[in-house]
């Protein structure tokens, strides 16, 4: 990172190779749209290069990176540059979201995976921006509450509450889908 701060583009390329998947995954969970997620990821890495001098060795790099990423996503959504795509749940009318097929051993498992993904995406689009950020960092990036608190400049208690509300909301949506929609999905296969 210190080499990046000195303008070393080769060091930056290496940094990009190591972390771009995490950032893109986070951005995708945030806006629920592949194209927008790539635009956000590009902006985040350019910002990272430009502000590399602000990085202090005392901070964990991943925390610093996601602080930049989360702030950028939250600001862009607040400014109206991006809208969080509302994902329709099964049976609702709406734009289908492009979701990669999960690695599954059978077509019915793949279909089930896509439907679960759609249910989760729909539940995420109903969360507040901060709940979605905390949830994505915890569930998909495996970050500890303490680190998420640093990313969001919040207390650990606030993060615990954000993650609990978000997880419970997603869990209820998944439960409802499993109770109502799963049997037909199985019969289609």
């Amino acid at each position: 990172m210190l080499r990046v701060a000195a303008g070393d583009t080769a060091a930056f390329a290496s940094l990009y190779d190591r972390h771009h998947r995490s950032v893109a995954r986070f951005a995708h969970r945030f806006v629920q749209d592949a194209e927008k997620a790539e635009e956000l990821t590009q902006d985040i890495f350019v910002k990272l290069f430009r502000h590399a001098g602000r990085y202090r060795r005392t901070a964990r790099f991943k925390t610093f990176l996601f602080r930049v990423a989360a702030n950028h996503c939250l600001n862009e959504v607040r400014r109206g540059e991006y809208r969080v795509t509302h994902v329709a749940e099964q049976g609702e009318e709406g734009r289908p979201v492009e979701i990669p097929a999960p690695e599954a051993h059978s077509p019915d498992r793949a279909l089930e995976g896509r439907e679960l993904e759609r249910t989760v995406a729909a539940a995420l689009s109903r969360l507040s921006d901060r709940e979605r950020t905390a949830f994505a960092l915890c569930r998909f990036e495996g970050m500890a509450y303490r680190d998420i608190a640093e990313v969001l400049s919040a207390s650990e208690a606030a993060v615990k509450s954000l993650i609990h509300r978000a997880t419970l909301s997603v869990a209820r949506a998944v439960e409802a889908w499993q109770a109502g929609a799963q049997p037909p999905a199985r019969s289609e296969a």
Partner: protein, 158 residues
């Protein structure tokens, strides 16, 4: 649900509670079927979420990011280091030294010229007087004595 530990259930599932808090939640779960059911739902969901496919960005994104970064202005530290390279520094040093030598020599010459011009000016201003006293054999140094002659007489000096 009105249980006081409900807000701690996700943190409990995530292993984010202290030993004391976790023990309190565990004790409550042993007696509350509602919270046990919520805990089971949370555990199941967390496991399912972990199995979801991850978004994979396109290969073109790397090229776009790196080419945008290449067009950005370099940081001042890098520009300074670039200027301090021997290949830039040596010719710049030689040029600077040459300019300094030329400036010193030119300054000295200008000072000498100014001094010469001053002496010539004094001679020109007193040209008439000098030619008069040269006739009687007085040197230019005696001019001041002659000019002050009346004053010296009054003071009684010889």
């Amino acid at each position: 649900m009105s249980c006081t530990v409900e807000g701690d259930l996700t943190a409990y599932v995530d292993g984010e509670l202290s030993i004391v808090e976790a023990a309190r939640v565990r004790a409550h779960l042993a007696t509350c079927s509602g919270c046990r059911s919520t805990e089971a739902l949370l555990r199941r969901t967390v496991a399912e979420l972990a199995a979801l496919p991850a978004f994979e960005p396109s290969v073109g994104l790397r090229r776009r990011v790196l080419s945008e970064v290449e067009t950005l202005p370099r940081p001042w530290s890098e520009r300074l280091l670039h200027l301090l390279r021997p290949a830039v520094l040596a010719p710049a040093g030689v040029a600077l030294a040459t300019v300094a030598v030329v400036a010193v020599v030119a300054g000295q010459r200008a000072q000498e010229a100014r001094a010469e011009r001053g002496a010539e000016l004094a001679v020109a201003e007193n040209y008439e007087l000098l030619t008069d006293y040269e006739v009687v054999g007085l040197a230019p140094d005696d001019l001041e004595v002659v000019e002050q002659l009346d004053q010296l007489k009054k003071e009684g000096r010889p």
